[in-house]
C-alpha cells in the first residue's frame, strides 16, 4: 500500500501522545484516531507502535492509566498525563522549538547566500 504520507520522525510520537493527552484523558483507540485527525493524513502513524509507546511512557511515570467506561459503554483503559508528564511535555516542546528554530535558521542562511 504505497502512501504519499511520510513516516513520523523518530521520537516525535511520544511527544504527540503527550500533547494529545494534555488536552484530555483518552484510551488507545481514541489516541490513534486523534493522531489520524491531527496529522490530517500527512503523517503516517503505525498503530502497532502506539501501544509500546504508551506502555513506555507509563513505565517512565509520565502517564497513568485507569480503566473507565468509554463512550460506547465498554470499559477501556484511559491514559492521562501525570505531573511529571506535563513537565516532560513542556521541555520536549521547548527543545522541539529550539531544534526547528535552529534548522530554519540554517536553511534561511543557505537561502540568503
Amino acid at each position: 500500500m504505497p502512501s504519499s504520507r511520510f513516516p513520523i520522525p523518530q521520537g516525535t510520537l511520544d511527544m504527540l501522545i503527550l500533547q494529545i493527552l494534555s488536552l484530555e484523558p483518552a484510551h488507545g483507540y481514541g489516541i490513534a484516531q486523534r493522531l489520524e485527525q491531527i496529522s490530517k493524513s500527512v503523517v503516517q502513524v503505525n498503530q502497532g507502535s502506539l501501544y509500546p509507546a504508551l506502555h513506555r511512557l507509563e513505565q517512565r511515570g509520565w502517564l497513568k492509566a485507569d480503566w473507565k467506561e468509554s463512550e460506547t459503554g465498554r470499559e477501556a483503559k484511559f491514559y492521562s498525563l501525570t505531573r511529571s508528564g506535563h513537565r516532560q511535555l513542556r521541555s520536549e516542546k521547548d527543545s522541539w522549538a529550539r531544534l526547528t528554530g535552529a534548522v530554519r535558521l540554517i536553511f534561511d542562511e543557505g537561502a540568503a547566500e
Binding site: G28, N46, G48, Y51, Q59, E75, A76
Partner: protein, 908 residues
C-alpha cells in the same frame, strides 16, 4: 526497580494488555464495518495496521522487563523445572553447596564479630592500642597489654599526637539495685573514656574528666543500656538513683547508647565506674596511683593528621626519659643489673585498635582464621563437586544442547542457560546455608570460653552476613557453572550430533582434573584434622597431672559483699571446717588463684642456694592451704607438705608472705623448678625471696618438691612455687574431693554455703573435669570441627571419584568387551580401571603435600607435641584417603570386570 516489581505482577499486566488490544480491535472493526468494508476484509485491515498482535505483545513485554532479564528468568524457570525432574541430582548439589556455604558463613560470622568488626564509635580507625614492649618491673593484675594508671595520665598530656587517651580495666563487682547483689561485669575507666570514644548517652550524662580527679571522691556510675533495660526495666527515673557496688553506694548519672557494649567483644560490662573508685570496685586494691602496678589497657585516639608511625616515633624520646625518671622515683633502682637493663630497653608500641581490646580476640583469632580457611577449602570442594555433577549431567544433556545449537541458539545463550542452572542451585544452597548458619554459630559460640561477663556475640543473621552469603553463593554459582558452560562452548556442533548417546568424551579430562583437585583439598583437610585430633588427644592424655574425677572446685568472694578481711577469714574458716567434716568430703583445700583458668600469679624469685641468683623468667606462684596437694592427688616427691604452723601471720597483702610462729617462711616448688634452677639437685633447705630487688631477703625455705601439675592450662609446663595461704583470704578457691555422685556433693556444699551466708557471691561452681573441658575449649573446637570438615571433604571427593569412574567404565564398555573377548582376565580389567583412579589419587597427593608443608606454619602455634609436618600423621591421612578412594573406585572397576563381552559388543 519498577521492572523487578513488574515481574511479580506479570499476570495482571498481560490481562490488561489483552483487554486493551481487544478493545482497540473491536472498535476498529466496528468503525471499518460501518464504513462499508466486508467483515473479513476489515479483520485483515486491523491485523495489518497493528502489525501482528503477538509481535506487539512481545514488544510491550520488553518494555515491562528488559529482554536479558526476561530471558534469564525464563532460563531460571527452565532450570528449576529440569531440577525438579532429577531430584537426587538436585538434592546432592544443593546439599553440598549448603554445607559449604553454611559452614563458611558461620565461621565468617564469628571472624567478623570477634576479629574484624570495628567498635560502634566515632572514627574507630583512628583508635590505637598503646602497649609497653619489654620489662615493666611491676605487679600485674589482669591479662594482657597492661600498664599503670599514672602512665595513662602522662600519655594524656601528649596532645601533639593524640586527641585523647583513655585507660580501662575489666573487673567483676557485686552490684545491687535494691534486691540481692549479683556478680556483674564492670569496666573501670578514665574519666575521658566516653568522650575519647565518642559515645553518646541514652539517658542522663556519661562520665567526664571531673569524675576522675581524686581517689574515692567520685561515687558515680554509668549503666549499660542492656543492664538498664533488663535489670531495671528501663526505669525512666534511674538517673540519680543509687547502685550498691560491693555494698558501696554509687549514684547513677546516666545510661550509655544502646549499641555501645564497651571495648571488648568478649566481655561486655554492665556498668562503668571511674578509675578513681578502684579501691571500692576491687576490694584490697590500693595501688591505683602506683607506677609499678600494671592493671589497665590504654587506648588512644590519634589526631587527625598524625599517622600511627609518626606518633610511635614521636613518643619514644618521652618514653625513654620516663624510664630514666622511673628508675629514680620508683624502686626499679633496687632491681638487679640484668632486670634494670631489660627495663631500660623497653619501648612503646602503638597498634591499630579499631576493634578495641579483647583477650578473646587475642586467643581466638588464629584458630578462627585456621577454621575459616578450612571452610573455604570445604566450599571449594563442594564447588568442584557440583561442577563435576554438572559435567556429568552436561554429557547427558549433550544432545539437547547440540540440538538447540543446531536450531540456531547462540553459544552465549546456551552458556547462559548453564549459568542459570548453577546460579539457581547456588542460591538454593545459599539460602539453606544461611538458614543453617545461625545454628552453627550458636554451637560455635557455646564452644568458646566464658566467664561472668556476657559476650557480645550473636548468632543472628544480619545484613553483613547476608551480603557475605549471597556473594559467596554467587561466586560459587559462577565457579561451579563456568566449567560446564565453558565446556559447552567448545564443542563442535556436527561432531556432537554425530555422536551416539552416552559415548561423548566431552569433559572427561576436565572431570579428572576436578577429582584430582578434590583429592588434593581433601588430603589437606584430613591432615589438618589428624594434627588437631592428635593435639587434643595428646592434651587429654597428658591431663593436668592430677586425678580430676570426683573433684569439685568453687570460688567465693566475700569481700564483694562488704566483708572485712577478718570477717572474711572467719567465714572461710567456718566453711572450710564444715566442708571438711561433711560426709561427702574426702579431702578439701583452698588456693588463692584458680587453676586451669588461663591466669597465674607471676613474679621473679631471688634464690639463695650456694650462690644468690634471680630466676631468669617469672615463676608462676600460688598460695595454698595444707593438704592442697593431697586433695588434688599430686605427689610430694621430696620433703613435706605445708602444715598449720607454716601460715600464721602476714604483714600486708599482695607483697609479703606469711610467717610462722618461729619467724620461718616455707615454700614448695615443683619438679620443673628444680630442674631449671637446681639442675636436678636436692633443693630442700635452699631459700628464696619474692621479687628481684637487691635487698630482697631470701628467708623462705624450700620445704618440699611437688610433681608438675597444670596451672594456667593443660598445655603449659612452667616453674611453680607454692606458698602457704595466709590470712589475706579476700577471696578463695575451694577444691573438694568428694564421695558419691557429683550431684549429692553439689547439694551438700551448696547447703553449707547457703547456711554460712545466703547472699555470698559464688563466682563459679563446677567439677574439675568440666574445668579441664573448658580450658581445652579451643583445642576441642579445632579437633571437632576439623575432623568434621575432613570427613565431609572425604565424602565429597569420594562421590566425585566414584562418579567419574562410573562414567569412564560406561564409556569404555565396548573397549572392555573387546579386550575381554580377546582374552583379558577379570583382574587385568579391574587393573585397567583402577590405574585410572590411581593416577588421580597420586596426582592429588602430589599437589597436596607441598601445600600441607606450606600451610603448616598457619597451624603450628595451635599444635601440642606434634609438628605440622609430622610424618606419621601425614602418612596415616594419606593412607586413609588412598584406601577409601580406591574403595570408591573399586565398585565401578568391579562392574567393568563383570562386563559380558557379547552384550557389550551388541550394544553397538
Amino acid at each position: 526497580m519498577n521492572r523487578i516489581f513488574n515481574w511479580f505482577r506479570q499476570r495482571r499486566l498481560e490481562d490488561d494488555l489483552d483487554r486493551e488490544l481487544q478493545y482497540h480491535i473491536d472498535r476498529r472493526m466496528t468503525d471499518l464495518v460501518h464504513s462499508g468494508l466486508p467483515e473479513p476484509e476489515a479483520r485483515r485491515r486491523v491485523a495489518l495496521e497493528l502489525g501482528g498482535t503477538e509481535q506487539l505483545r512481545e514488544e510491550v513485554r520488553d518494555i515491562w522487563l528488559n529482554r536479558w532479564f526476561r530471558d534469564f528468568v525464563y532460563d531460571l524457570r527452565f532450570s528449576a523445572r529440569s531440577f525438579f525432574r532429577s531430584p537426587s541430582f538436585t538434592a546432592t548439589a544443593v546439599l553440598s553447596l549448603a554445607l559449604g556455604i553454611g559452614a563458611t558463613t558461620a565461621l565468617y560470622s564469628l571472624v567478623d564479630q570477634i576479629v574484624l568488626r570495628a567498635l560502634p564509635v566515632d572514627h574507630p580507625e583512628r583508635l590505637v592500642l598503646i602497649d609497653w614492649i619489654g620489662f615493666q618491673y611491676a605487679e600485674t593484675f589482669g591479662t594482657s597489654n597492661l600498664m599503670s594508671y599514672p602512665i595513662c595520665q602522662d600519655l594524656q598530656q601528649k596532645k601533639d599526637f593524640f586527641e585523647g587517651v583513655l585507660c580501662r580495666a575489666a573487673t567483676t563487682i557485686s552490684a545491687s539495685t535494691g534486691g540481692e547483689p549479683k556478680l556483674t561485669a564492670a569496666e573501670l575507666v578514665s574519666g575521658n573514656y566516653f568522650s575519647v570514644l565518642g559515645v553518646r548517652p541514652a539517658l542522663g550524662r556519661l562520665l567526664t574528666t571531673d569524675d576522675d580527679q581524686t581517689p574515692g571522691a567520685s561515687p558515680v556510675v554509668v549503666l549499660s543500656y542492656d543492664f538498664w533495660k533488663n535489670q531495671l526495666g528501663s526505669a525512666s527515673d534511674i538517673v540519680g538513683r543509687k547502685v550498691l557496688v560491693n555494698k558501696y553506694p554509687m549514684t547513677v548519672v546516666g545510661v550509655a547508647a544502646p549499641a555501645f557494649h564497651g571495648v571488648d567483644v568478649g566481655e561486655v560490662p554492665s556498668l562503668w565506674i571511674p578509675a578513681v573508685m578502684s579501691a571500692q570496685a576491687i576490694p584490697g586494691f590500693t595501688t591505683m596511683l602506683d607506677r609499678r602496678t600494671r592493671w589497665m589497657q590504654i587506648l588512644g585516639r590519634l589526631k587527625q593528621n598524625v599517622s600511627l608511625q609518626q606518633a610511635q616515633t614521636g613518643l619514644q624520646p618521652w618514653f625513654k626519659s620516663m624510664l630514666d625518671e622511673d628508675m629514680r622515683r620508683t624502686n626499679v633502682s633496687r632491681a638487679s643489673a640484668e632486670l634494670r637493663r631489660r627495663f631500660l630497653a623497653s619501648t612503646l608500641e602503638l597498634t591499630p585498635a579499631p576493634q578495641g581490646h579483647s583477650v578473646l580476640r587475642q586467643g581466638l583469632s588464629r584458630p578462627l582464621w585456621v577454621l575459616f580457611v578450612a571452610t573455604a577449602v570445604l566450599l571449594a570442594l563442594a564447588c568442584l563437586n557440583v561442577a563435576g555433577l554438572f559435567l556429568a549431567r552436561g554429557s547427558a544433556r549433550h544432545r539437547e544442547i547440540s540440538t538447540r545449537l543446531a536450531l540456531g541458539a547462540s553459544r552465549g545463550r546456551i552458556g547462559r542457560q548453564l549459568l542459570a542452572d548453577s546460579v539457581l542451585l547456588a542460591f538454593a544452597g545459599g539460602l539453606l546455608g544461611v538458614v543453617m548458619a545461625p545454628i552453627a554459630v550458636r554451637a560455635l559460640i557455646a564452644l568458646l570460653p566464658h566467664n561472668t561477663a556476657a559476650t557480645d556475640l550473636r548468632a543472628s543473621v544480619d545484613t553483613h552476613l547476608l551480603v557475605f552469603a549471597s556473594l559467596v553463593s554467587l561466586a560459587t554459582g559462577f565457579l561451579a557453572g563456568s566449567v560446564p558452560a565453558f565446556q559447552a562452548d567448545r564443542k563442535s556442533l556436527d561432531s556432537s550430533l554425530r555422536e551416539r548417546g552416552g559415548t561423548s568424551s566431552g569433559g572427561l579430562l576436565l572431570r579428572r582434573g576436578i577429582v584430582t583437585a578434590q583429592i588434593a583439598f581433601t588430603l589437606i583437610l584430613v591432615v589438618a584434622a589428624g594434627l588437631f585430633i592428635r593435639t587434643f588427644s595428646g592434651l587429654l592424655a597428658k591431663g593436668p597431672g592430677f586425678d580430676t574425677s570426683s573433684l569439685i572446685s568453687f570460688g567465693i568472694k566475700p569481700a564483694l559483699t562488704g566483708y572485712s578481711d577478718d570477717e572474711a577469714n572467719q567465714l572461710i574458716r567456718r566453711i572450710t571446717d564444715e566442708i571438711r567434716t561433711s560426709n561427702s568430703t574426702r579431702a578439701s583445700a583452698i588456693a588463692r588463684v584458680q587453676l586451669l583458668l588461663g591466669g597465674a600469679w607471676n613474679n621473679s624469685l631471688t634464690i639463695q642456694d650456694r650462690q644468690r641468683f634471680v630466676t631468669d623468667r617469672e615463676v608462676q606462684m600460688n598460695a595454698v592451704s595444707p593438704g592442697f596437694f593431697a586433695t588434688l592427688g599430686a605427689r610430694i616427691v621430696a620433703g613435706r607438705d605445708f602444715n598449720e604452723h607454716d601460715a600464721l601471720n602476714v604483714d600486708a597483702p599482695h607483697q609479703s608472705l606469711p610467717v610462722s610462729q618461729t619467724g620461718q617462711r616455707a615454700v614448695i616448688v615443683n619438679e620443673a623448678f628444680v630442674k631449671r634452677y637446681f639442675g636436678g639437685r636436692n633443693p630442700l633447705g635452699a631459700r628464696v625471696a619474692m621479687g628481684s630487688a637487691h635487698d630482697a631477703k631470701p628467708d623462705s625455705e624450700i620445704v618440699g618438691v611437688v610433681e608438675n601439675i597444670s596451672y594456667r592450662n593443660v598445655r603449659e609446663q612452667w616453674e611453680q612455687a607454692y606458698f602457704p595461704i595466709g590470712t589475706e583470704l579476700s577471696g578463695s578457691n575451694f577444691y573438694v574431693r568428694f564421695r558419691g555422685t557429683p550431684d549429692s556433693a553439689f547439694r551438700s556444699i551448696r547447703a553449707i554455703l547457703h547456711n554460712a551466708d545466703p547472699t555470698l557471691p559464688i563466682s563459679y561452681f563446677r567439677t574439675l573435669d568440666e574445668q579441664i573441658d573448658r580450658s581445652l575449649n579451643t583445642e576441642r573446637m579445632l579437633a571437632e570441627l576439623s575432623s568434621n570438615f575432613g570427613t565431609l571433604a572425604l565424602l565429597l571427593s569420594l562421590v566425585g571419584l566414584y562418579g567419574v569412574m562410573s562414567f569412564v567404565v560406561n564409556q569404555r564398555t565396548r573397549e572392555i568387551g573387546i579386550r575381554m573377548a580377546m582374552g583379558a582376565t577379570r583382574l587385568s580389567t579391574i587393573w585397567l580401571v583402577l590405574r585410572d583412579a590411581l593416577v588421580m589419587i597420586a596426582g592429588g597427593t602430589a599437589i597436596a603435600l607441598p601445600c600441607v608443608w606450606a600451610l603448616g606454619r598457619l597451624v603450628e602455634s595451635q599444635l601440642y607435641d606434634v609438628k605440622p609436618t609430622d610424618p606419621v600423621t601425614i602418612l596415616a591421612a594419606t593412607l586413609v584417603l588412598c584406601s577409601t578412594a580406591l574403595g570408591a573406585a573399586l565398585i565401578p572397576a568391579h562392574r567393568a570386570s563383570a562386563v559380558n563381552p557379547t552384550e557389550a559388543l551388541r550394544f553397538e
